[in-house]
């Protein structure tokens, strides 16, 4: 049973070079998205939520 399940868990692998190129591209895209999000003021929403005790998070709100 254990062996069978492990055999099932095969995930298609991309060639390393291709995967790394895509990975680097998405890393850069992530940085661009972050910069755009900061530019349009999302960081202020995160900050406002994070500096006040989040009642929902702690199970009261």
């Amino acid at each position: 049973m254990k062996e069978k399940n492990k055999k099932d868990r095969v995930f298609p692998e991309l060639p390393d070079r291709t995967a790394m190129k895509i990975g680097i591209g998405i890393t850069i895209l992530g940085l661009i998205c972050m910069a755009f999000g900061i530019w349009r003021g999302e960081m202020a929403v995160v900050f406002e939520k994070a500096v006040n005790i989040c009642m929902e998070c702690i199970g009261i709100g």
Binding site: L29, G37, V45, F47, E56, C57, I58, G59
Partner: protein
């Protein structure tokens, strides 16, 4: 090197402990029962770390995502999504294995001896998909669409599920604030029950929260197959002895899928490999160019 030394995980645990301390080092918060309110809270930490923990210096990316998605004026978050893309594409689930405080807690609990530890059970494969559903429903759709009169959605994952919030924020803050003790109700009780269930299960099953529930792990796992930091198997050196698959507590076979979405990059497979066929790729891109 003897087997015990080879499979020792305390090197990784030391990094986890150090990171957990660094990202939760506002010690005055624990003394006063308050949280840090400085500028560092603008930034997200890579792991699941409640921003209402009295010691937390940064923001939890899952909480931050719900905050922006549930806000009346944004609904889409480029800042947090970009952060998750950046970390995910760069490291995959390395964060889960090395930098997540709640992962550390589960790791340590799993060291408690128990007569019958469970690896794979019927339904395990199905349950592993649950974290993607939780991410989509509780982190994105519910905060986006279930809104109040002002158009603001609550952080439903934090509110109804997150055991890290209960452990890191709920318990210390309620213990330290008399006012909060008077305000606790069914939700607090529910979250504590869930926390206890997950902590008890962690003794029997390796990282049940990471395997089945964590939305952050779900997001990072999507990037794992293309992450810059990756594992590779040298097929010439591999003897197919199965030692790596046996050592993997996330039940991955690294020879068949070295960059499987469930792998948390703990490195145990690399440690137990008798021929050194498994390796990281960091700094070896040139060597790859020749080989692939």
């Amino acid at each position: 090197m003897d087997k015990k030394k080879r499979t020792n995980e305390w090197g990784r645990h030391r990094v986890q402990i150090l990171w957990a301390f660094l990202s939760n080092s506002y010690l005055a918060g624990f003394a006063k029962g308050k949280i840090y309110q400085g500028k560092l809270k603008n930034l997200c930490v890579p792991g699941l770390n409640c921003y209402s923990c009295p010691g937390a210096l940064g923001s939890c990316p899952v909480g931050a995502m719900q905050a922006v998605v549930g806000s009346w004026n944004f609904k889409l978050t480029f800042y947090v999504a970009g952060f998750l893309m950046f970390i995910g594409a760069l490291t995959g689930r390395f964060v889960c294995g090395w930098l997540c405080p709640f992962g550390l807690i589960q790791d340590l609990l799993h060291k408690i001896p128990f007569p019958k530890k469970i690896g794979i059970f019927p339904g395990d494969r199905f349950l592993r998909k649950l974290k993607y559903v939780i991410f989509l429903v509780f982190v994105i759709l519910m905060p986006m669409f279930i809104v109040d009169l002002l158009g603001q959605g609550a952080p439903y994952f934090c509110k109804l599920i997150c055991p890290a919030g209960t452990l890191e924020g709920g318990l210390p803050l309620v213990l330290l604030n008399k006012g909060m003790r008077g305000a606790i109700g069914w939700l607090y009780a529910w979250k504590n029950v869930l926390l206890v269930v997950i902590l008890v299960l962690s003794v029997i099953i390796y990282r049940p929260f990471c395997k089945y529930i964590c939305p952050l792990g779900a997001v990072y796992s999507l990037f794992q197959p293309i992450s810059v930091f990756r594992y590779r198997v040298d097929q010439e050196l591999c003897t197919h002895c199965g030692a790596c698959a046996k050592a993997c507590k996330m039940q991955v076979d690294p020879v068949k899928s070295p960059n499987h979405p469930e792998c948390i990059r703990c490195g145990q497979c690399k440690k137990v490999c008798p021929t050194g066929a498994l390796d990281y790729n960091v700094g070896k891109f040139r060597k790859y160019k020749k080989k692939t």
